[in-house]
């Protein structure tokens, strides 16, 4: 296999690598370099300021608040999404009528999966427009109108949804309303993911458990869940990345792109405002670097914490 190997390798790698370096590596590298300057963004003037930007980060209260909001999503988003998706996947795959054949999926499970998966194929923009309409705050949005109609809500005080900064369980309400949207948009995908993993578990394992007298609930916690560990940890990592981002949701669905009064700021919106509105580009880059380090650490921790021997079947 030796002859002509290197020209071939170079030929195959040249185009992808060139694109990757020009459009991805070099902007990221510039971000790191800019984080040590006071660059304003679009002029060419920049002075080296050492670690000043990073020192400023440690004192920036808005940045800290945003960080906590990301941490909220980091905890709540995977927890709620994975729990719901596992629950539905369980119902779909083992919730059917048991018969002589043992455990069965429910009738119409294919149809359910098609419907649940819808939000995944819709553009983010469509979901934003839809939820913006559902969340209208003036009593004429769908949710407010329905709640007023059935008498749960005083017509003079419609729900303020993403306009509401008052805390609920210690977290501004606006973040909970955003959480609902992101969970709504993602449950279907992870349901299908877990469902596929459940179907690859051989039926005889369930039958053996049933013969030993295990109930379905027992079977789920003692057999299914441990065997799904790999898919659950992958889901956790992916949802973790979504939670660190959240940019489009906060940007498009909250007042002042992070409001009201900064109650829904996340990393990304603070960074974006520093860079594009306030022209503090060097500082924004330092935020970016801090966040990238955070993301890399998170990925590494998740992957090593969940790594273990695979069970082959």
């Amino acid at each position: 296999m030796r002859h002509g190997k290197y020209p071939f390798i170079a030929g195959f790698l040249a185009a992808p690598l060139a694109l990757y370096v020009i459009f991805l590596i070099s902007p990221y590298a510039q971000t790191v370099m800019n984080s040590f300057t006071n660059w304003g963004g679009f002029s060419n003037q920049a002075e080296y300021v050492g670690t000043e930007n990073y020192a400023r980060l440690l004192k920036d209260e808005l940045f800290h608040a945003a960080l906590w909001h990301n941490v909220f999503f980091l905890v709540a988003l995977p927890l709620v999404t994975v729990t719901l998706a596992l629950f539905f996947a369980f119902l779909l795959n083992v919730g059917g009528r048991g018969g002589r054949a043992g455990v069965r999926g429910v009738f119409g499970s294919g149809l359910y999966k098609v419907v649940f998966f819808f939000p995944q194929v819709l553009s983010v923009a469509i979901i934003v427009i839809l939820w913006d309409a559902l969340y209208r705050t003036d009593g004429q949005g769908l949710l407010n109108w329905l709640l007023i109609k059935i008498g749960l809500l005083d017509p003079l005080h419609p729900l303020q949804f993403t306009n509401n900064p008052t805390p609920f369980l210690g977290v501004p309400q606006v973040l909970w309303w955003l959480l609902i949207i992101v969970v709504w948009a993602n449950v279907g995908f992870y349901l299908v993911l877990f469902s596929a993993a459940m179907q690859s578990i051989p039926k005889d394992i369930y039958e053996a458990a049933m013969l030993d007298g295990a109930t379905r609930v027992h079977t789920f916690f003692r057999v299914t869940l441990p065997l799904l560990r790999d898919s659950v940890s992958v889901a956790w990592v992916y949802l973790g990345f979504l939670a660190l981002d959240m940019f489009v949701w906060v940007f498009a669905l909250t007042p002042q792109q992070g409001g009201p009064n900064h109650a829904s700021e996340v990393f990304a919106t603070v960074l974006f405002r520093e860079a594009f509105t306030r022209g503090q580009f060097g500082y924004a880059c330092a935020m970016g670097v801090a966040m990238a380090v955070f993301a890399l650490l998170l990925g590494a921790v998740q992957l090593t914490a969940t790594r273990r021997e695979r069970i082959e079947f």
């Binding site: 992808p16 690598l17 590596i25 194929v121 309409a133 559902l134 992958v234």
Partner: protein, 316 residues
Amino acid sequence: MATTFQTPPVPVTPAPGRPASGPAVGGGRDLGGQVLNVFSHGFLVTWALLVILPLGWAVMSSFKTDAEIVRDPIGPPSGLHWENFSTAWTTGHIGDLFFNTIVVMAGGVFLTMLFGAMAAYVLARYEFPGNKLIYYSFVAGLTLPIFLAIVPLYQVVANLGNSVRWLGLNQYPMLVLVYVAYSLPFTVFFLHSFFRSLPTAIAEAAIVDGASHTRLFFQVMVPLAKPGLISIGIFNIIGQWNQWLLPTVLMQAQGGGEEKRAMLAQGLIDLQVNQGYQGDYGALFAGMTMAMLPILVVYVSFQRQVQAGLTGATLK
């Protein structure tokens, strides 16, 4: 042109009824199963409705006048107000948005697949100095959020555009190449493990028969990797269809009377901002419906492949 016939175009909710009390199986022993079955359908139907009803509501609202939308959000439209669709088509430029998106995605997905497969194949099956370094630099790209790079990226593109016009801001080829670059990390990561898992015997046989490395790749390895290529292809189609930040920053009008070549997601959000100010919700819903229905039709026709492709790609 308010027409008079009354057909609310609400999609029929495909919530399957439970089968009317089927034959009792296994005697009383499986009563738990029966209860669980009813319980299962209860929850599943509820979630299905939570997904379907808002979408159906938006489609229905796209046929209503603004006054109707405000007065009675859940009532049926008084007639089919197609003028919402023509407003969205003309002021929202939905047709242009579709055209731009399809042009960019055709190039973007094709080149991502080609370059991604080439790079992944070479990295997976050939030993050479620097192999690991290149592979890990692709993998590292997976974890970095795009907006960290967005302003330097804007500068890179603006500078390129000064020397090569079609690589500059608001140009299709530029956006295609940027999409490719940002789709490569996952594509390479996924296909790398796929090419690794292919048997070596076939490749050796082809080399013995005198095939060149290039021929071996295109005529032997690519066909063998077809299932993986389909998975990652679908993944990239959805990913690039959903892109919003990259086009929002890179596809802006550049003066000289040049229109901005907006992508669909970008244009819809613009429409949301503008129509929202004007209170023209009918047109907004109509634009949304036009953007939503084609993708839903494509998805429902290929749902098995789409689901398998997306989830398969994630689990690798």
